[in-house]
């Protein structure tokens, strides 16, 4: 609690005890009035001062003014009528309890969320003649060697030049499994070094590092307001004047008609107590704030509450294939040997690719890790666009595409699998081929299922890859709609076609941020994936998934839906209860106790409900 909150709490407790004590002190007339004024002023003096200032600045209809009028009105009625001041004191007391609760809850969630995003590094260690020195990370230049001890945050993006360790990326990606890093590994700022001492050569300035970028993004996120927030702001502006006008009408018209001023003025005061729009005004932005905070803990960064709102309405998800649904790296997916041992086939192919730097060659080498055995390998020639010929254990081995096979006179066989086909022949005898393809991410199939389960109606896959590859991946993942052989510009055209069809619902595009920035910004919501360190994607996207797990797409949608559900509940709850109270008050079924309980109670319920958005599971 802040000192101000503590002071208010003490005022509330003192006033409440005084009020209870006064119940047992028999008093009448002026003495009674002055006695009750003590707790009233203790708990309400600041409000009265603020109300007076409001009038002076010609801003009469604020909540302070309304509460002042309501309580002073109730006191006047008590003087004139029965000397029951408890009601006025209680209204002021509960109003202040509500205010205190609100400020405590808001302060608490501000603190919670800033702790969640506690990735700001405070210092960097630099080795100097006097040993290790802590410096401001802002002063560290690119290419400086910094030291990160166990338990410290990596302050600046860089490459490990010595040491190995396990790093905790949970604050950045939501991935709770620590990652092992070694010399040569690129590490991003904001991760926590768990066990080893690391020496890192920085590759970026502090301000350009991942942690700074993300903090910047999170802190400035919600300057974009959602429609619900705008609605509530507008609603609050008209709501209070309307209720006050009703209160005035209620105080004057029936009073003149019936001649019973006390009853109708009392009922009008109830209106004033209910007229405060606090519950709505606080709970809606709080819900979005909590929702965005909760999502960021899972490694889902949402750039503004408007995007959270749009995300909740997404019915169509358009996905890029390479890097989003697939790993974006090549791997051996099949070995088809013809009258030959498959293991021996890949063994020979790996030997031939021993010195290859081509991604395809590297993938074959990676598939056969112990390539450097005691075989006698001599590379004869590397023919660009065809393949490699090598002499292995005295035999001439050709590894390459159809052209190479034709050149050596081997009778190659076509393959029905999608991907790049690498044929292998011993002299002119064809022994089979290796299928190399981009590997589907392990969670890709589940992510598609989860999206359908979360209520996404259509999933499209766009790819620049061949029709055959696209068809196979789509079938494997259960995606019915796909477009293949698209150039980057065609993806925008395809997305626009989809947008035109899905006019009434929202369309999200998911990409890995590499050359799909135009598509990301064209979609209703652009979701960039695995964006750690990819600046262009962070700029262009509206939602950023810190790791490259496609399962996060459905999580993001679910979080947004939950958040919007809470927003709706709060709007209906608050407006509904207030209208109900006003009706009951107008017909004389509710007294002022009822009104203040309804007002403060709804606010507390709405705030507690809003905080639920923070819990994403």
């Amino acid at each position: 609690m802040t000192p101000k909150q503590k002071k208010n709490l003490i005022r509330i407790i003192v006033a409440a005890m005084l009020m209870i004590a006064l119940e047992f002190v028999p008093s009448t007339g002026a003495a009674r009035f002055f006695l009750y004024m003590i707790p009233y002023l203790i708990v309400g003096y600041d409000l009265l001062i603020k109300a007076t200032r409001g009038i002076k600045n010609l801003r009469a209809l604020d909540e302070n003014f309304l509460m002042a009028v309501a309580t002073l009105g109730a006191i006047s009625l008590a003087v004139y009528d029965n000397g029951d001041y408890t009601e006025a004191v209680a209204v002021m007391l509960f109003y202040q309890i509500g205010e205190l609760f609100e400020s405590y809850a808001v302060g608490k969630s501000r603190k919670n969320i800033s702790e969640l995003m506690d990735i700001r590094p405070d210092f960097a260690n630099i080795e100097t003649e006097n040993g290790i020195e802590q410096v401001d990370p802002d002063e560290v230049e690119i290419g400086t060697e910094i030291i990160v001890k166990p338990g410290e945050k990596i302050p600046i993006d860089g490459v490990i030049i010595s040491g190995k360790s396990t790093i905790d990326t949970v604050a950045l990606t939501g991935e709770s499994l620590p990652r092992d890093v070694d010399i040569g590994a690129e590490v991003v700022s904001g991760c926590v070094n768990i066990n080893g001492v690391l020496k890192i050569r920085t590759t970026k300035l502090f301000g350009e590092s991942t942690a700074s970028k993300i903090l910047d993004l999170v802190e400035n996120a919600s300057s974009r307001k959602s429609k619900s927030e705008e609605f509530i702001t507008k609603f609050a502006r008209v709501y209070t004047p309307i209720v006050v006008a009703c209160a005035v009408a209620l105080a004057i018209i029936p009073s003149i008609v019936t001649g019973d001023f006390a009853t109708w003025i009392y009922r009008a005061l109830i209106f004033l107590v209910i007229s405060c729009p606090c519950a709505l005004v606080i709970s809606i932005p709080l819900t979005f704030f909590a929702g965005i905070g909760g999502a960021s803990r899972e490694g889902i960064l949402i750039k503004g509450s408007n995007f959270l709102e749009t995300l909740s309405k997404v019915k169509t998800v358009v996905m890029d294939k390479t890097g989003t649904l697939t790993q974006g790296v090549f791997d051996v997916s099949d070995i088809h040997a013809k009258d030959f041992d498959a293991n021996q086939l890949i063994h020979l192919a790996a030997h031939a690719e021993r010195y290859s730097t081509h991604p395809i060659g590297i993938s074959i080498k990676n598939f056969y890790p112990n390539e450097n055995d005691n075989c006698d390998v001599e590379i004869l020639e590397e023919i660009a666009g065809q393949g490699i010929r090598a002499k292995i254990n005295g035999e001439i081995i050709s590894v390459g595409n159809e052209k190479l096979m034709d050149a050596v006179g081997a009778k190659w066989k076509a393959c029905d699998k999608a991907g790049t086909i690498i044929h292998v022949a011993i002299a002119e005898k064809y022994i089979g081929h290796v299928v190399i393809s981009d590997v589907v991410k392990p969670t890709a199939k589940k992510s598609v299922e989860e999206m359908f389960a979360a209520g996404i109606e259509n999933i499209f896959m766009l790819t620049g890859d061949s029709e055959k590859v696209a068809a196979q991946v789509a079938a494997e993942l259960g995606i019915k709609n796909y477009r293949s052989e698209l150039l980057p510009a065609d993806k925008v055209t395809e997305l626009e076609k989809i947008l035109a069809v899905e006019k009434n619902s929202k369309v999200a595009f998911v990409g890995d941020g590499i050359n799909d920035a135009p598509v990301l910004s064209r979609a209703d919501v652009g979701i960039a994936m695995g964006a750690m360190g990819a600046d262009a994607a962070i700029e262009a996207a509206d939602v950023i998934l810190m790791d490259d797990d496609p399962l996060k797409i459905s999580r993001a949608v679910k979080i947004s839906r939950k958040c919007l559900r809470i927003v709706k509940q709060n709007i209906y709850l608050a407006i509904g209860i207030k209208i109900l109270c006003m009706i009951l008050g107008a017909v004389g079924l509710a007294n002022m106790w009822f009104a203040i309980f309804a007002d403060v109670g709804v606010m507390i319920l709405a705030v507690l409900n809003a905080i639920r958005a923070l819990f994403t599971h």
């Binding site: 200032r53 600045n57 802190e219 996120a221 919600s222 702001t233 979005f288 704030f289």
Partner: protein, 72 residues
């Protein structure tokens, strides 16, 4: 030109009032107040002297409530 200022506001309603006051101030093209992060994002009219404009905005915001403050 767009700038972000740290603010203080006691309640969400005051924050909304600050937003509307800022939007009504001359030289301000668009202002958004975020009560949860206590930040005011102000987009200024072309050629406006943002320091003078913000002083004006602060002056007017202080009238809303004692606690309303903009840190320039």
């Amino acid at each position: 030109m767009k700038k972000i200022f740290k603010i203080n506001a006691d309640c969400a309603n005051c924050a909304n009032e600050m937003e509307s006051v800022a939007n009504d101030t001359e030289g301000v093209k668009n202002a958004v107040v975020n009560f949860m992060t206590l930040k005011m994002t102000v987009e200024f009219e072309d050629g406006a002297d943002f320091k003078a404009v913000m002083k004006n905005v602060r002056e007017r915001c202080r009238k809303i409530d004692d606690e309303c403050e903009i840190f320039l």
